[in-house]
Amino acid sequence: MEIEVTGYSFPNDIHILWSLMIVMYPYITGLVAGSFVVSSLYHVFGRNELKPISRLSLVASFGFLLFATLPLLNHLGHPERGFNIIITPNFSSAMAAFGVFYAAYLIVVMLEIWLIYRKDIIMLARRSRGIKRAFYALLALGVYDTSEESRKLDHNIVVVLASIGIPMACILHGYVGFMFGSVKANSFWSTPLMPIIFLCSAITSGIAMVVVLYQILSKLNGARIDPECMQSLCRWLWMFAIITVTVELLEIISLAYERSEEWMVVGPLLGGKLAFSFIGIQLVFGALIPIILLGVVVLMKPFLTDPLRNTMAFVASLILLVQVLAMRWNVVIGGQMFSKSMMGFRQSYDPGLFEKEGVAVAIGIFVLPFIFLAIFNKFLPLAEEDVEGDGKASAAEPQAARGA
């Protein structure tokens, strides 16, 4: 066995234990929380310009949520006992809270989606025949009331659910940060800033994902990208990208400035083994470039054409998605690179392409939410009904009037 550790590592600290799967897990839950926050900007905070993406972001959050547990399960030594986290939790464990938060959040998001799509479901049930009709009838859960009054009630419940959902999404993801931040044995993880860093980058990745999905969906539907909506998304994304990088740097700078014991091992790590993914990807490529691009979009709005702005936003969002993934990698893998002896580094970790917890599986898991979104879109439109040029949804409008 080839072991190349530098310095002195505890003999049980030779390998990196938490793999690429544990990188994917906070990445996907971050997208869950982030896209939910975007949808809430419309549903709760009345940012009406974000209406075109309010459904898309909510369903995206649901899609990522459905597959968020897969990387964890794939990593467990005994996945068949994984359910024990929910049925026999140890309440002093941060990880055990996962089941409660996950289940509660899942219920809230499902209810919210159902209420938002209720009218569409009823319309589609009335329009279709045969199995399709039965399917939509099943989704309608036997409620066919589309009166103005019931729609208003729906809306009010959605506002309440979304309001409950925001803290829940924040807890769901903040607790992922807490899971790392509360490990006092690991000086790189152990900081109360960790949940905040995770939350901010989660919201950044969520907005970036919505920008990407919205542009792709509009292309597929042949619909116009709403300029006000895109401009607003860019503004939010810019703000959260700046906050994210600030808190990420803040953690490192305080460690370095205090010249704490941790810095003696974290410093050489960030400048050495992690230099490419930390300085290269997370800070320069992943943060500097998109922050400049988005700054141009936000500050120089009058000078930009719509296609140029859309392209810049799309590129900035893709890069930010990579940045957040790099940040997860740097925290999860980087935090394990040094031994708890604080005197040496572990064997480096390069995930194999086809191993159990390798790259192919990670990509496979990450693709699943998008497949879910595509299938969802086949049955219920992801695009907002009021968006111009969205033929499918707006066709339902007159019928809705007749039905009511």
Binding site: L72, G77, K184
Partner: protein
């Protein structure tokens, strides 16, 4: 001197009867009686997250006529750094006793050499299992010593606190144990242990660590490493027994624990520890 009062240290390693073969078989009446007691306790056991059940499974059968009561003991471990010669007998004994997989360690020995450079030279080739080679030229230290390490069986152990399913638990006699039937193999406890005492068993895929040889100590035998140590650098005692020599040393002499700043409350004490040790 240490061989007089502590019962465990008076048993030389070679004379220790094997765990399973020499215990008298339980009588049928007693077996039935214990089963009935067990059944009564079953509900309680379930309510306690099966911790006690696992404890019973891990504990050996107590000697005839003397029932092991975990509430009457609190095990402590004492390591005298000045005595350790780095022979690795303890590591090999632990490996044999507990079927420790190769390249993983429930106990290991580190060699510290304090030289003129800023950082001490530390190594532990294969956990010190096969001893240590001679010092290379230029690596001779101003002082050098061996540091045996095991699970510290912390009173406020981070590993138990954050085990999501309660598979890691603390027995009433102060031993941290892992219920292999419950462990989901998430590895959170391995991340949480500041001492690197835990690992995920490569075959069983569950967390594994030093158990203070719970199957032995509950029968009145010393841990395998203590029994194997030829120089008495490792000692085992009962903090609840005022006559126990180890407990007297811990009570009256300056001892140290590893990483005291983490406030984990280790049950493993060191005599003559140097500040360089992590």
């Amino acid at each position: 001197m240490e061989d007089k009062s502590a019962p465990f240290n008076s048993v030389p390693g070679m004379d220790v009867p094997s765990a399973s073969s020499e215990e008298p078989a339980m009588t049928r009446r007693e077996c039935l009686k214990r089963s009935a007691q067990g059944a009564c306790g079953a509900i309680f056991v379930l309510a306690c997250g099966e911790e006690l059940g696992a404890l019973a499974q891990m504990a050996g059968t107590p000697p005839e006529g003397e029932k092991y009561d975990p509430f009457k003991h609190e095990w402590v471990y004492l390591i005298d750094i000045s005595k350790c010669i780095g022979c690795g007998s303890c590591v090999r004994a632990c490996e044999r006793e507990n079927n420790v997989p190769p390249h993983y360690f429930r106990t290991w020995v580190e060699r510290y050499r304090i030289t003129d450079s800023e950082h001490p030279l530390v190594d532990s080739p294969n956990g010190g299992r096969d001893g240590f080679g001679p010092e290379k030229h230029g690596e001779e230290g101003r002082k050098a010593f061996f540091v045996p390490k095991i699970c510290n069986h912390c009173k406020f152990s981070p590993c138990t606190q954050l085990c999501p399913v309660g598979a890691s638990f603390r027995s009433p006699d102060g031993v941290m144990l892992v219920d292999e039937e419950r462990c989901i193999g998430c590895g959170y406890c391995v991340q949480a242990c500041p001492y690197g005492s835990r690992f995920i068993h490569p075959v069983k895929h569950v967390a594994s660590k030093c158990t203070f040889c719970y199957h032995r100590v509950t029968k009145g035998l010393p841990t395998a490493c203590v029994a194997a140590c030829p120089v008495g650098a490792r000692r085992f005692g009962d903090a609840k027994d005022p006559d126990d020599e180890v407990s007297q040393i811990v009570a009256t002499q300056p001892t140290h624990v590893l990483k005291p700043e983490l406030l984990t409350g280790p049950h493993c004490r060191y005599l003559g520890m140097s500040m360089e040790v992590r």
